[in-house]
Symmetry: C4
């Protein structure tokens, strides 16, 4: 764990905790995954082996190469089929330090109904809109890239690259019939965004029957995002304390 | 427990755990039941005595004959009134190794509203559609078999056989005003399908107000089903670990 | 506890457990109450003092007279303002052995929207319809009895009697802007009906957007009710075991 | 803690518990805050430092001046950006003894959909209407005060004063795209109102598809509010006992 190319213990611990937080918050179930860019080598990232996020321990974390999306060490444990989501986004977006892929329950309806848009409607979710995505996240239609008979999985470098192109410079990309992928400048920010993407989606679903929805202006979205990212430690500390307590660890 | 015709201890344990998993996941409440085909005698299956699934222990499991739907041993404890759901499906479908019957809360609306169809809308639920059931599961209307004054229960071999005919070669059958029945090639697969039938139903209910729903194509449904069945161990291990911990057992 | 007019310890224990079950099942919150008719004196009933159901212990149970709705013993602890719901129903309905009053969350919409009917749509809730209430429970409009400026509480013998008249020979009565009252031939049956009134209400709310709702026929409702009452011990044993475990008691 | 200007230990303890109750009841998540007016100096109020309410301990409580919205002691810990919500309401409303600000999930849709009104529809939420707010709470549109590019936060005395003006003599004010603020004549009453504002909002959202909603008359709203405030200790004792048990404290 202490050779020069190893990621820091703090980063490993944070990634394990992030797996449990996302499960505890209902953002992933037995499926979904979260990665973080290596803190001593920008060409690598850390991701659990193929398993349910709520069971991940430090020994389950594997180093992957950004370039290939394959494990760095020989003879690695079985990986997630969709690890290319992570590798291709890290490749296309040097600013991204963490990636969450999930089947978030209130977000999925926006990946199912034609023409639906997930605009930010509350100040905690400004990151969904703003100058980078004025109408909310784009939808990745895998039929355009893999045809009408695919298994919907982003299971190759090519499909990962196509997803990264749809993400563009924004922070969230919806995936038709599948879920979404969320990025952040840090692990706490990516987890924060994954949770509040779900919160905002629930709000839109509940607000629809009441009348025309009043979304944040792009300027409001940008302003709230900047303010809230300065507060991302607040939920992170709460959530991390909760999952560490559930695992019998010191907070 | 060790005479030649006994089911393996592993199968018994797995069936007990499946009862608890289905309760813990909210798929059954005090009602509903899960069975597994005997692993040393294809003409038998295992099912708990008449009790809430969340309270089942190994001593509560009873062997039933596929042919009659009656307990093998003399003087058995009281059985479920609807054990014929299980026996007649095992009879009609040699490929089926496990059966779940439930009143799954988000699935029931599709058993109540005339003309509603439960099409697969996310890649975890491809088993609902595909070549075997292009428009999603069929609805079993018990009025067609038991008249308009029945207690809605599948409480005879004849009604069980009628239900099995409506199921046909598919994996899920809806039951009007009642619930659904889900089958699988193994216990983990049947439990997986029962859980994700509920997940998919919730998604459709939430997506409806957003606009026209974009279901998986039959080809996508088949492809995702094949891929996901290769991953069925992932949720099974998570869920089993959870319910064993709740019961104070070693994971 | 052993003088001839005392209720049995078993009944007291069951009433304490029923309070906790209704709280644990989300049927009551800090408000709502459940009573049982005295098992050695049909002119009395047992009800907790004014407190949250989830905190009730045996020492909190008070004997009330059916005739007056007042406590039997002198200098009693503060009672529920709406104890007359219980006394007047026991007076009007000798067949009723237990009464639950609650603000059940999915039932309340049917007490708020003009013209809404809570018909039974699943076989667990046949008691809502049948020959005694073909279109589902009636709505008690307190404005008809207390005017348009009341506090909506059934806080007198007169209002209790009016509510009992609206209940008539049925099993559930809705109360406008307030909640519902559920009766049973035993405590387990009344608790069962309170829980499945909520379940059925959720189902109707979820099924509405899918299309025209197919309710049970009155004959189906009667038949399912009779069958399910023979199964009322199953949930009761599960629920009771759960709340006793939560309180650190032997199941 | 015992110098003359200190708040009582009882008040401090109650405020800590109120933070945990609001988290446990789902009214705040990692964001939101609750304050209480100092019980020995009406020109001060108590509020936690900038942190998640569910983690607050007595040592985290800070005294603020009503006049400035700034901490009384020099070199205070980082405060909530929106502490001016509290200070300006205490200034404008001498009758108010406690203030809750939150992003209550079912209330937010009423802060998002144009023209939606949150009228009281059940007797537990009469405080939402009545003579002081006949059509339910007013909506504070921050664009009218901070322009169309703000971060939506009430982060100055001026914005706090504008919010207090929109609140007027009522008990709840909605905040566009943001949440709500609830006041009370005591801490238990403010917490009660925050919880039942959420309950009432859920009811309206669920009742809408059933037909025209029948709200309480203003006279019913006033009458139920007066009655229920006499019962506010009942939920407060239940909720406080629950969160103290969760923290391992004596109830």
């Amino acid at each position: 764990m202490s050779n020069p190319s190893s990621a820091s213990v703090e980063l490993l611990d944070a990634l394990v905790d992030a797996n449990h937080v996302l499960y505890h918050q209902g953002i992933v179930d037995a499926f979904g995954h979260v990665s973080v860019r290596h803190d001593r080598d920008a060409g690598r990232f850390l991701l659990a082996r193929n398993m349910a996020p709520g069971r991940v321990q430090a020994a389950d974390i594997v180093e992957y190469a950004v370039d290939s999306g394959e494990a760095v060490r020989p003879d690695p444990p079985r990986g997630y089929l969709e690890r290319f989501i992570h590798s291709e986004i890290y490749k296309a977006r040097p600013d991204v330090m963490a990636v969450v892929h999930n089947h978030s329950p209130a977000v999925l309806p926006f990946c199912i109904s034609r023409g639906a848009r997930l605009r930010p409607v509350c100040h905690m979710a400004g990151f969904l809109g703003g100058s980078a995505s004025r109408d909310g996240p784009e939808l990745f239609e895998i039929r355009d890239h893999a045809g009408a008979a695919s298994n919907l999985l982003v299971s190759s470098r090519e499909l990962g690259a196509a997803l990264a192109r749809t993400l563009g410079a924004s922070r969230v990309v919806l995936m038709r019939g599948h879920g979404c992928t969320v990025v952040g400048e840090s692990l706490p920010v990516a987890v924060f965004r994954a949770v509040y993407t779900e919160v905002n989606a629930k709000l839109v679903l509940q607000a629809l029957p009441l009348g025309e929805v009043d979304a944040l202006t792009p300027e409001e979205a940008d302003a709230t995002r900047i303010t809230n990212e300065g507060q991302a430690a607040r939920p992170w500390e709460l959530w991390r304390e909760q999952v560490r307590r559930l695992r019998g660890l010191a907070p």
